[in-house]
Every structure is written in C-alpha cells, then in structure tokens.
C-alpha cells in the first residue's frame, strides 16, 4: 500500500506548530504516533496534502503524576510502575490500547483525538467505491443510519473514558495563547459526528493535567473487544471514586466505544454521593446507563449486545475497582 504525496513538516516548538497549523488550516493532519493515521492514509481515507509531525516538539513529551504530555508514548507510561500503582484505572486503559507494538509509538494525545471508526468507513478505497462512499469520506450518505445527516462512526479511544472519570483537564495552545478546559469540554456533542471537538484552527493539544483525587480513590477501566490482544473497543466503561459500604464520597462513570463521543453520566452518579453503595444501587446505575447508551450497527458486535454488555461491564468495573493513591 502506498501513501499519496504530502509535504512533511517537523516543527520543534509549540509556537511553531501553532503558526503552521494556522497557516495550513484544513489542509493538514497532525502526525503523533501515526498508528491510526497512517493506516487511514494507506486506505486513502481523508488524506491531507500536509502532515505536521509533532515528535520533535520537546514540550509535548514526558509525564509526571499530574501531567501527561500529549506526545508521551503509551508504552512509556506502561513501563512506569510507580505511575501504574498510583493510577490504576488509567493504567488499565493504557494497557488495553491495541498491542505493545502499537503502544510503543502510540501517544496520549493521539488516543484522545483518534478518528472515529465505522464498518463502512475503515475499508479500502476499492471496497468503499463499490458500495458508494459515505458522509465521513468522499460521499454524502450514511450506510448505517440511511436518513442521517450526521455521522454515527464510533469513538474508539480507550484513554478518554478513563481520564474523564479522573476529572482530567486538557491544555490547548492556539493562536490566542494557552487555555485549560475540562477534558469533557474538548468533545463537542453539538458537532455533526465528523467535527467532534471544540478545537479551532491552529489549536494544538499540549498536555493532560490530572487534579489530585480524593483520598482512597479507586478506579477501573473495562473494555470489551473481539480479539483481546488487538482490537479497538466495542465498549469501554470507566469508574472512579471513593466509596465504601457506608457512604459514597465521590463517584464518576464514563462510557466510550459505543457512541460518537465518550460520555460521562454525572446526573446518575451525583445523587449517589452521601448514600451507601449497595449492590442494588450498582445494579440500578448499571441498568440506567445501559438504557441510555445508543450504539448503532457499525462495529463487529451487534448494537443490542453491546448495549446489554454496557450494564455487565459497569457491574464488573465496580466489582474490580482498585485503590491507587492518585486514582
């Protein structure tokens, strides 16, 4: 498979990236680890004439207990055992992204902004041209929801749900300077499924910041996939919080891999704060989350099965949540 010609840019500072991204707006992609972008380029999916490679930008590298550089490699987080002990839920998610070889190049920012996936999109040009192109690439209709005017391709990152339940914030650099926003606000539910974030032209995801968690926070990320050693999620459930049989002190729950965006369910978990976390309460929560999610038929497993498994995975996530000093 060959890549169509493009011009490769190798900036070394965040300012230089922002300048390039502003100038090339709409005509470029950022290249982080390349483990998802380049397969898409090989299949001629929305390839752009310019690539801005981020790997020489030192500021995007590195990690600490409270900051993850956007270009930090997943394998480097995985290899840091102290980080693993202090961030159990996040470590679950990192260790379940694709394969060790993909994680060796794959990055934090790349996973947060990974393109959505659909059975009718992630196919060769020949395959797609035979059926007729779709909204997400080269065409004007949706093969999954035929009357749709938006795209229903599935958000397939594992880190987003795990970071949403930790109240992570993202640092964004843009033409008018730096800003910090909650990770949840990075994703835009008002988009058409193709534009999914609130990043503007010229914006660059610089880092993820992890605020300190409540003492005794526990967390877990559970992922369903067809081949446990490789696949993107068919669903991913993250929980984090501090609770015991007496009382919930804090609780967050997020689901990814079933809709266009990852989603947190604060309106279901906030009322549980101050109440005992009984098995019945977990069951009611699991049932309600399962009732609300709306998978469509665009991945390997049928949507009704995925929806029912969301409930099962919520129960399992609570049963297996582990304590770590930073959650």
């Amino acid at each position: 498979m060959h890549l169509d010609p493009f011009e490769l840019h190798r900036p070394t500072t965040v300012d230089e990236v922002v300048r390039l991204a502003t100038e090339l707006a709409g005509r470029f992609d950022y290249l982080a680890g390349g483990t998802d972008l380049l397969p898409n380029y090989k299949m001629h999916l929305n390839a752009k004439p310019h690539l801005v490679a981020l790997e020489d930008v030192r500021e995007l590298r590195g990690h600490s207990d409270s900051r993850l550089g956007a270009m930090e490699r997943l394998a480097d987080l995985e290899a840091d055992r102290t980080f693993g002990r202090t961030h159990p839920g996040l470590t679950d998610a990192i260790g379940e992204v694709a394969t060790p070889l993909v994680r060796s190049s794959g990055t934090v920012g790349g996973n947060l902004l990974v393109d959505t996936r659909c059975f009718f999109f992630n196919q060769s040009y020949f395959w797609r041209s035979s059926l007729g192109f779709c909204l997400k690439a080269d065409g004007d209709r949706c093969h999954v929801v035929p009357q749709a005017e938006r795209c229903y391709a599935t958000f397939s990152g594992d880190l987003a749900p795990a970071l949403l339940v930790l109240d992570a914030e993202v640092e964004v650099a843009g033409p008018s300077g730096r800003r910090r926003l909650p990770l949840g606000a990075l994703y835009d539910p008002g988009g058409d499924g193709i534009r999914r974030t609130r990043l503007a032209p010229g914006d660059l995801l610089v880092a993820v910041h992890l605020p300190p968690g409540p003492p005794g926070r526990r967390a877990r990320y559970k992922k369903l996939r067809v081949r446990p050693s490789y696949d993107f999620p068919e669903l991913g459930v993250a929980v984090a919080g501090a609770w015991d049989s007496e009382r919930v002190r804090s609780l967050r729950l997020a689901v990814g891999g079933v809709e266009t965006l990852p989603r947190r369910f604060d309106d279901l978990t906030d009322p549980l704060v101050g109440t005992p976390l009984t098995p019945e309460a977990v069951n009611r929560l699991a049932d309600e989350v399962q009732r609300r999610v709306r998978p469509v038929h665009n991945t390997f497993l049928p949507p009704d099965y995925r929806r029912r498994m969301v409930g099962v995975y919520v129960r399992r996530a609570f049963a297996e949540a582990r304590e770590g000093s930073a959650g």
Partner: protein
C-alpha cells in the same frame, strides 16, 4: 529537508545515506531501496507485527513509521540483531524448539523478543505472552515460540 535531500541514519550499526521522499515508510525503504528483505510486509497496517524493527532500541512497526522520521536515529533490523556469524540466543532457541512453521512471522517475533530480553532479561511467561501479543503467527504455533523465548532468557543468564 526537501525530497532531493538525503536521509541519514545508522542502520545495523553502520551509517547510511539514502534519498527518501516524504511518503516513504521505513518498511519500504528497508526492503525496496536498501534490499534488506528480512523485515517482512504482512498486513501493512500495523496489525501483524511482521515488520517490527528497533528504532533507538524501541520495537517499532516499520510499516507505520515515516522513513524521514528516523533521520539521525539508529535502526536495527532482523539482519542487525543477528551476530555477523551464527545466531543470537533468541534465534538459536527458535531453531532448537522448532518455533517456526512457515517462518514468515519469525523475523518480527525475533526482533520483539530480543527487545524484551534486553529490557527484561528474566520475563515471566505472562510477560512474554504480553510482549508478543502484537505479533501474529497465522500457523498459530505460539506455544513453541513462547517456550523458545523462555529458553533464550535462561540461556542468556
């Protein structure tokens, strides 16, 4: 660097300079331009691990690495992880255990396993299984591959 300029990096310990356009991936550069065909093209999409090489010691999918981005770096292929004469301990163990069937995936497994043993000389069986989980053997001979890597770890002590 314009497309006419030379890409320069260390390949299996030796400096090389080669012209390289932007869209060339490392796998194509190695196999087609430099004629090092030990690194195999399997899926070409990052799924199978047949194209694994070491870039600055890191196991890397050469089919998903732009060759331009290894400028100034050190690349080791299956040809480089083997000593000039004979076999490295992982290769010797693969031979002793019959851990190859058709052999197509073997270079990727050997590169991945060599990197594992450099960073973790005494891996547990679970660590070995995890480390090679991105390498696919379509003949499905995983047991002998795992046993060979366990054996190589013992031999290297």
């Amino acid at each position: 660097m314009s497309s006419r300029e030379l890409l320069s990096f260390r390949l299996n310990g030796h400096p090389v300079e080669v012209p390289c356009p932007s869209p060339r991936v490392l796998l194509d550069l190695l196999r087609e331009d430099l004629r090092l065909t030990g690194t195999k093209r399997g899926c070409d999409l990052g799924t199978c691990g047949c194209c694994a090489v070491l870039v600055d010691g890191r196991p890397t999918l050469s089919c998903l690495t732009l060759a331009r981005l290894v400028d100034g770096r050190s690349v080791e292929t299956i040809e480089g992880v083997s000593p000039p004469r004979g076999l490295n301990p992982v290769q010797a163990a693969f031979v002793a255990h019959g851990a190859t069937q058709c052999g197509f995936c073997t270079p990727g497994f050997v590169v991945t396993a060599t990197a594992l043993l450099r960073s973790n000389p005494r891996p547990s069986r679970a660590e070995i299984e995890r480390a090679i989980s991105g390498n696919l053997c379509r003949c499905t001979g995983y047991i002998k591959i795992i046993e060979a890597i366990e054996d190589a770890a013992r031999t290297e002590e």
